[in-house]
Amino acid sequence: MTPTILDRSRNNVSGHQIFDSYFSNSQLPIIKGIRDKDMKLGLPEVTEVEIIRHYTNLTNDAFGVDNGTYPLGSCTMKYNPKRNDKLSQLAGFQKSHPLQPKKTLNGLWQFMYEMQIYLAELLGMDAFSLQPAAGAHGELAGIYIIQKYFEAERKEQRNTILVADSAHGTNPASASMAGFECKIIQTDKQGLMDIEMLKKMLDTNVAALMLTNPSTLGLFEKNIIEIAKLIHKNGSLLYYDGANLNAIMGITRPGDMGFDIAHINTHKTLSTPHGGGGPGAGPVGVKQFLRSYLPIPIADKNGEIYFPNYKLPNTIGRIKANYGHIDVLLKAYCYILTNGPQGLKETTENAVLNANYLQIKLKEILPPVFNKLCMHECLLNGDILKVSAYTFVKRLIDYGIHPPTLVGAGCVYFSDDLGSAILMEPTETETKETLDEMVMIFRQILDEVKENEDFIKNAPHSKNVSQIPFMAQEII
């Protein structure tokens, strides 16, 4: 193992230049809880060049979209345009303080206002809040909106949220985090939501159904119109998990499908880099009748003046401090502006085309779980592999390709009968050439399995560590 930065610590060196010639009287003040001079925290002492080399070295043992193909299903690992990173770092944004006098942040309010409008149009909603910090946080805001709506408007007690069994883990977790009871609806043979089951479960306790469409199985819920009708007839609301929006931009919109609330993960569809886990952003949008429930503030406009509007009568309150992940949202804004309506639509078309192409080309090795067209990602069956899908895909690492999503290795949950399923999402920014190469590599690995099963079972072989077992136990 590479030494940690703490292992590199040495006495009396440091990377910093921290001083002010006028303020050098470093007598410790007398405060309760003061830390004596000789009480060390144990922070490292390293010089600047050591820090740079240490972390440069660490980055070289990591892998991003810039390094190669990253078909991690449900994560939409598309190319993150460099201009967006650069422009998000302009001093006017990067160096402004959230609590400055409002009139000194006109650029901020205008940007937020326009962004809200663009997102509303993209998703077919009427109003947006940019505050949520991630997709799951958007869900949470949405759930609180639902809760407040039944309290404030409908004066009803509804305690149940329905979610699909194929839903992302955040959906049920969001519901129960807000105190709802969570009920699961099964997927039918065709990979769609079991409508009969849905019908049975609908009662006056059901506050909402959370759905992602296309689903995490890569399929479009084509009964969505009927589902929406059923939900609304039941007096319930329909929540859209926007993580898969890359499959439908400019083709259809959650708002048009009948969803009342929706979030979007900017770090997926809108190309903001995921930073090894975050920060992302998860703006949440609603139909007009729920606008007054949005978290505060939202950006607003009065004539030519932009400002933060705190006056939403039913607001759920704040969901985080300040206005959202401005640095991240700026990148998403740039993405929308550089694409334009046609570019966004093409993005979706190519994402879906790439996924279907991959599905077809891989079908002999990995037949699709559901034998039909997929949307922006394809769910493939790893059952006929001679080794487990888990070890099979580890071998991809040796070829410089990031493994796709599997149970327990990715952010998606599959029911037991999908235990060896593989979810692949190439995104539109892979070329036909990289897809063909990937298919070739899959074939090659299959050959390698035949020749030397053990070798593949123990992959990867090219990294600093060997294979790490599924859900490995922690050691101390």
Binding site: H97, G169, T170, M177, K222, I319, E346, T347, T429, Q473
Partner: protein
């Protein structure tokens, strides 16, 4: 032909043929007609790269930023310096453009960086378990509150005691989060002289309410450093979980909260190498005892063994998390603030043990200098007499709105107005960072003098 799309027409034709389709449109055959868009999205037509730059540069120009005006604003977000090494590293694309390290073999470097964040942050909190990470200081506090509820719900009332002297925004977020699980919030007042917690009230309420936890902040919303040991003593005696929201930079000077007996330490990581960005994205610090580890939300990175028995980094304890536990998960957090936590780790490595102390001292000394000199001005008074670190509340004889306005015309962001400290009017929270030099502080003083004259 658009840049981010990599297929040319020939590619498309070949690929469609393989799939057995004629048109791109037929890929979407599962989408029912009635919900298909028949018009183009009503969004701006595409910008060229230079037009985009012009647009963004112009938007940015419409903000006044803290390199342009002297910034005396704090309130939880501070205009500290961000070492260039931080940006240099986190802009490297191997970190920037990667996902959560679900494939540990491919991401040892990223995992190690996150692990080091946990290590270093644990030094600051004084507690061994650090999550990686909560969204910001406010949601970290709310996450901690939910933890209290989960840990204690068997023995306690679904009630939470919360100090009145936490950031107003944090309280708002807390209320939103607690609304879902119907956790009741009771407020604990502050002492109007010292600005510190009203300990009698705290003792009483703990006894009366038998709450799942007590949440407080230090330095609190008035900049006052609390007597943390006293708080934890009270809480411990009543087996109430103590939750602190702190400014990590204060630990340059002060004992760690863990040492002082706090059970859950939360805070905003922005002061540690993260740009202001109008308040986000930042970093939610969340840290606790080993015994509460199963309750902590968010990613945890730990060491495991690879199949050869060698140590390796990996996500661990995933059974707490939404992608495994689903509706039984502690919280729903998935994407987090990974890159920002790495920023703070680089920051801490950069300043190191001695630099961290020096930095805190500089902030303290400069604050004292400004405070002492302001108090020499006629009719300018401190609201509280408790000890402060890097910000303090001043009471003015005239309208604070006018003061802010007039200072603004001198290119000074003078401070944050408090609408409501008990009955006291015209109060201003003034904050200082190392970036303000003596000349800047003197300029503040002379400007204020002029305005008050």
């Amino acid at each position: 032909m658009y840049g981010y799309n990599t297929l040319n027409n020939n590619d498309k034709k070949l690929m469609l043929k393989e799939i057995g389709l004629e048109t791109i449109n037929s890929l979407f055959q599962d989408i029912p007609e009635p919900i298909r868009m028949i018009r183009q999205l009503n969004l701006p037509q595409p910008y060229s790269e230079w037009a985009l730059e012009k647009k963004l540069v112009n938007l940015a120009k419409n903000n006044i930023h803290t390199d342009e005006y002297f910034c005396f604003l704090g309130g939880g977000y501070y205009n500290h310096f961000v070492p260039a090494v931080v940006d240099a590293i986190v802009n490297r694309s191997e970190f920037l453009t990667s996902y959560t390290p679900y494939q540990p073999e491919m991401s040892q470097g990223l995992l190690q960086a996150l692990y080091e964040y946990q290590l270093l942050m644990a030094k600051i909190t004084g507690l061994p378990i650090v999550s990686s990470s909560s969204y910001d200081g406010a949601t970290a506090l709310a996450d901690a509150a939910l933890m209290c509820d989960s840990i204690q719900k068997e023995n306690k009332n679904q009630k939470l005691l919360v100090a009145k002297s936490i950031w107003p925004q944090y309280l708002e977020v807390l209320k939103t989060y607690m609304s879902g699980r119907k956790i009741e919030i009771e407020m604990i007042d502050y002492d109007i002289k010292t600005g510190m917690l009203n300990f009698d009230e705290l003792r009483n309420q703990i006894q009366q309410e038998n709450p799942v936890g007590f949440l407080f902040q230090s330095p609190n919303a008035f900049g006052i450093i609390e007597d943390i040991a006293k708080v934890t003593n009270i809480c411990n005696n009543a087996k109430v979980i103590s939750v602190l929201s702190f400014n990590p930079l204060t630990i340059g000077l002060l004992k760690t909260p863990g040492e002082l007996g706090v059970d859950i330490v939360t805070g905003e990581g922005q002061p540690l190498g993260i740009h202001l960005n109008a308040g986000g994205s930042s970093l939610g610090i969340l840290s606790t005892h080993s015994k509460y580890r199963q309750y902590i939300p968010g990613r945890l990175i730990g060491k495991v063994k690879d199949i050869k028995g060698n140590p390796a980094y990996s996500l661990v304890f995933e059974n707490r998390e939404q992608h495994v536990a689903r509706e039984k998960a502690n919280t729903n957090i998935c994407s987090n603030q990974a890159l920002n936590s790495i920023k703070s780790a680089i920051f801490l490595s950069y300043v190191g043990e001695t630099g961290f102390r020096k930095l805190a001292m500089l902030n303290y000394e400069k604050t004292q200098y400004l405070m002492n000199n302001l108090l020499k001005l006629k009719d300018v008074e401190l609201v509280f007499n408790g000890m402060v670190f890097n910000e303090f509340v001043i009471k003015f004889p005239i309208s604070v709105k006018i003061i802010i306005e007039k200072m603004l015309s001198k290119k000074i962001f003078a401070g944050i107005e408090y609408k409501n400290i008990s009955e006291i009017e015209n109060t201003l929270l003034i904050s200082v960072t190392e970036k303000l030099d003596k000349g800047d502080l003197d300029y503040y003083i002379s400007s204020l003098k002029e305005i008050l004259a």
